[in-house]
């Protein structure tokens, strides 16, 4: 038997008990911390270079604990989105290539409703496409980041012909977390196009945002930990290492280990359409983003708390921010809890199992025409032709 379910059944029960349920008193300290946070003091602590901590705390742009109702959508507006999927380079195949398929969707609402849906697939097989800087092979992680850059470039290109007001949307995060710690050549390979696309969207006057459903980020609760630290009250700079050496339970222990979505659902109790305050992410990779550094807010979509990420130039320009807020909420309502435009972009991008097989077959046929018989690795052949 390949998989023993009975072994994990008991562990699944334990796991379920670990999930926070947010009873009325379970998070009383968190509720207290959220209600009483002093934004000025918190920002001072977050920007004081003497403070050393291991968290990734969000820095509030204006205030921390206010809620903003969704502004009305303009009478005529557009939303555009792109999404991508790829076929990874196959280590077991003699032909080295990968494929990126980008789906594009423009939905227009108002007096003349219309929709444009399309996708473009691109096969990449040249040496400079398979290796970054001629030495770093493109693997799944790198390809994921390359796709993010390609999606955003396609979004900026799509925005060229779209009338304003419009919002450009992406699924997932605008923070290229996995770029941290990568070789400088890889950073350049991804970031140059990524930031160029953000710049083109800014010049076009179309605010861009990314949408994260069921977000796992803890940036805001981490900030509450910084606010709860008692070191500054004792006249000391924040220092987590010193604190841990000093005692078992630090002062910030009162803040439970829950994601931000829990904070904004059960503590802030955002109503349908309401957004949180806007925060700046503390991700180190954003130092490379310049004026496109990513900020975010949480939005009650009617069905869940989603995280919406925006570049600094959207966060600081209230008309852009309000348009993103209004249109993302509007999209969630039209799409039964998830933006319609992202749903359709995904549908355009997805490469089905049949299509993957056809691509593989076409490559094999092309090789055969040149007299190259496709030899698969023994391991791959055994997986394809399973026998007993």
């Amino acid at each position: 038997m390949p998989f023993d379910f009975s072994r994990i059944a008991a562990q699944i029960d334990d796991l379920a008990r670990e999930v926070p349920r947010g009873g009325p008193d379970e998070f009383a300290p968190l509720r207290e911390a959220y209600a009483t946070v002093d934004t000025g003091e918190l920002v001072a602590r977050l920007t004081d270079p003497r403070n050393k901590h291991s968290w990734m705390p969000a820095r509030p742009d204006v205030s921390f604990n206010r809620a903003y109702p969704a502004p009305a959508a303009p009478p005529d507006f557009g939303v555009i989105a792109t999404d991508g999927s790829f076929i990874l380079p196959d280590r077991h195949s003699p032909a080295r290539f990968y494929l990126i398929n980008i789906g594009r969707v423009h939905l227009h609402y108002g007096s003349r409703p219309d929709a444009h849906l399309s996708s473009t697939a691109e096969l990449r097989y040249r040496e400079q496409e398979l290796q970054v800087d001629g030495r770093i092979p493109v693997n799944a992680t790198l390809l994921g980041m390359r796709r993010a850059a390609d999606e955003l470039a396609a979004l900026a290109a799509a925005a060229e012909g779209v009338p304003r007001p419009a919002v450009a949307l992406q699924d997932g995060t605008l923070i290229l977390w996995s770029l941290s710690g990568q070789d400088e050549a890889v950073k350049g390979w991804v970031l140059a196009d990524f930031l160029d696309a953000l710049e083109r969207l800014r010049e076009r006057g179309i605010p861009v945002a990314s949408y994260i459903s069921f977000p796992g980020g803890k940036d805001a609760t981490d900030a509450l930990r910084i606010a709860a630290c008692d070191y500054p009250g004792r006249g000391l700079p924040i220092n987590c290492d010193a604190c841990r050496a000093e005692r078992d339970l630090p002062a910030c222990h009162v803040i439970p280990n829950v994601p931000d979505r829990h904070l904004f659902a059960h503590i802030a109790r955002l109503g349908p359409g309401e957004r949180s305050d806007v925060f700046a992410s503390a991700s180190k990779i954003l130092r490379e983003y310049g004026e496109h550094a990513i900020h975010f807010f949480y939005l009650q979509t009617g069905t869940e708390i989603a995280r919406v990420e925006i570049p600094a130039w959207v966060a600081s320009h209230r008309p852009h921010l309000d348009l993103v807020h209004a249109l993302v909420y509007d999209q969630c309502r039209r799409g039964r809890g998830y933006p319609s435009v992202l749903q359709e972009a995904h549908e355009q991008a997805v490469i089905g199992a049949d299509e993957r097989r056809v691509v593989e077959q076409l490559v094999e046929e092309a090789l055969a025409r040149l007299g190259l018989v496709m030899l698969r690795s023994g391991k791959d052949a055994s997986k394809r032709g399973r026998f007993v």
Binding site: H108, Y109, H116, L117, R334, S340, E347
Partner: protein
Amino acid sequence: MRIGEVIETSTVGFWAESERLHQLPPLGALVAVALPDGATLYGVVAFGQTAGVDAGRRAVRRGTDQVFDGAIYDQHPELLRILRTTFQAITVGYAGPDGRARHHLPPWPPPLHYSVQECDRATVAAFTEAPGYFAILAASEGEVAAEQLLAAHIRCVYDRRGRDTAWLNAAGQQVARLLKRDYDRLLTVLEAIDPGVEKYEVQSTKYELGGAANGSGGENGRAGKNGYGDVPF
């Protein structure tokens, strides 16, 4: 007038996708595909449906108290691109480059992606002049019962021919001839054509309406076609 494009094809019929969502020829209408060799293939619309382009995506309710019916399409413009209307036609004959109608199956199916046209009055009149092709419809085993399809076709053609009573008479006689061994099926067809012409048709085929009609003609008909109960009436 081009109304669709062939997206699935076979010797006995084809599926077409409508040019525009929700716009398809009526059940029983005569449609044509112009073939590359100059011949024209004729089919009778036997089924229609509107569903997601991607078969894996089912339609969900979109309406609210304020937005319903046609307004839903304005509020969800992508629906015009992700839904499609398709219809199935049963091939009933063809006309060679000489224009002579032949009421039997053509040697080849129509090519994929060719245009499907709705037939004008003159074409309908020419092809349906003799109802010899009714046998193909009577033997069809699609989603729509053969009796309903025959009746829908006769209604369509009768109308397209300018309410041609002489043709309706001949059509009724042809149906009676085809279903002479199955009174229930025959009755189902005749009742479905038009209550106003029912009496006329029944008299012409020497059958009488009455207690024998039990409404289960379709069942009997299917049994007959399958070879299990082809009992003489």
